[in-house]
Amino acid sequence: MAKAQIKKKSVFIDMTAMSDVTVLLLTFFMLTSTFVKKAPVAVTTPGSVSEIKIPDKNILSILIDKSGKVFMSLDKQADMVSTLEAVGSDYGFSFTPEEIKKFQVQSTFGVPIAKMKSFLALGDHDKDQVLKTQGIPTDSTDNQFKSWVKHARENNEDLRIAIKADQDTPYKVIKDVMNSLQDLKENRYNLITTLKVMPKEIK
């Protein structure tokens, strides 16, 4: 009888302390971290000893994958809209407000401007699939990349250009991108790399 009575006694654990800890952790994560952007292609960046951090705002990032496809992303949605309109008018396309709305929420864009309309009409899942196979044309005959960068710069004077390329990307593609940037007098840009430890003898 006595045994059964002990078993029945409910054990109330005070969760207040636990709650304190979790809230603290939550606050820490919310303040220190930044959201991961959805990238259409996986990219392994090369290592470098450089320790400069990328600035927070006003970034035009250029993503180049192994096979040389070029994608771009802007961190301000307002810039994206005006850039799309400017590039569209260059090539004789105009976009409906609905299409612009759809374009705004894209984290990364990179389809030839002629295909932009049909791309924006696709569903979310199809968009991800199609985007992987596209890319902004950079060759000298049809350099839409240049036009994108030019108009992005017109819309935002403080824009910093960051190039994130895969380590196995052929130099030819990098050269095309750099030449296009040079033509636009964009001479300063950042190459995104992963951190490598400085060799000992220099330290």
Partner: protein
């Protein structure tokens, strides 16, 4: 009487069960841990010369002393070659093989830039001993790097080399504290030199 009852109610211990609160917090933490990244990506800053300023470029090029110039040629399959001084396409032995590891380009450039590296090292030591602050370190370091008679490196990459090769080469500039380097397109003469060396 009514007063007495009130005080008794106030004394009653109110215990709130925090378990659901903890559950929710844990869920949020998990979400944040999975969907965000803590570290900002590292970058490497580069400045390219302007294309139009032909005059300026020619002037700059003539400033480069032949004895201090090193040209790196990056080729496919992670091969790298170099020659010192101005390109001399008639001299078939000018081009030499080297590699991206510590005994390759790095030891070559460090040998040429020893004076600057020593000064930077001394400066770094000062900084770690808190004799100077970061801003002072930056200005002094750039002054050291910009002094005269430091080697100039010209990087030329072939179309077959990859992006990693380029970043590795730029990285060596940083490691060896070389302030003057430039990426220029490769010439046919350079390609011929590589072909010659490979066919030997």
């Amino acid at each position: 009487m009514s007063r007495n009852r009130k005080t008794r109610q106030k004394k009653m211990n109110v215990r709130v069960d925090f378990t659901p609160m903890v559950d929710m917090n844990m869920l949020l933490i998990t979400f944040f841990m999975l969907c965000t990244s803590l570290s900002k990506p590292q970058t490497m800053e580069i400045n390219m010369p302007t294309k139009d300023d032909k005059n300026l470029k020619d002037n700059d090029q003539s400033k480069v002393k032949a004895s201090l110039a090193v040209t790196l040629l990056l080729d496919k399959n992670n091969k790298v070659y170099y020659y010192e001084g101005l390109p001399n396409y008639a001299d078939k032995n000018a081009l030499k093989r080297t590699s991206y590891d510590a005994n390759g380009i790095r030891s070559l450039l460090m040998g040429k830039n020893m004076r600057v590296i020593e000064q930077i090292k001394a400066l770094k030591l000062k900084k770690t001993n808190l004799q100077i602050n970061q801003a002072q370190y930056d200005t002094q370091a750039s002054a050291i790097k910009d002094q005269k008679n430091t080697p100039t490196v010209i990087i030329k990459a072939t179309d077959d080399s990859n992006y990693k090769n380029l970043v590795d080469a730029l990285d060596e500039m940083q490691i060896c504290s070389i302030s003057k380097y430039v990426i220029v397109p490769i010439t046919d003469g350079d390609k011929l030199l590589i072909k010659n060396l490979e066919s030997k």
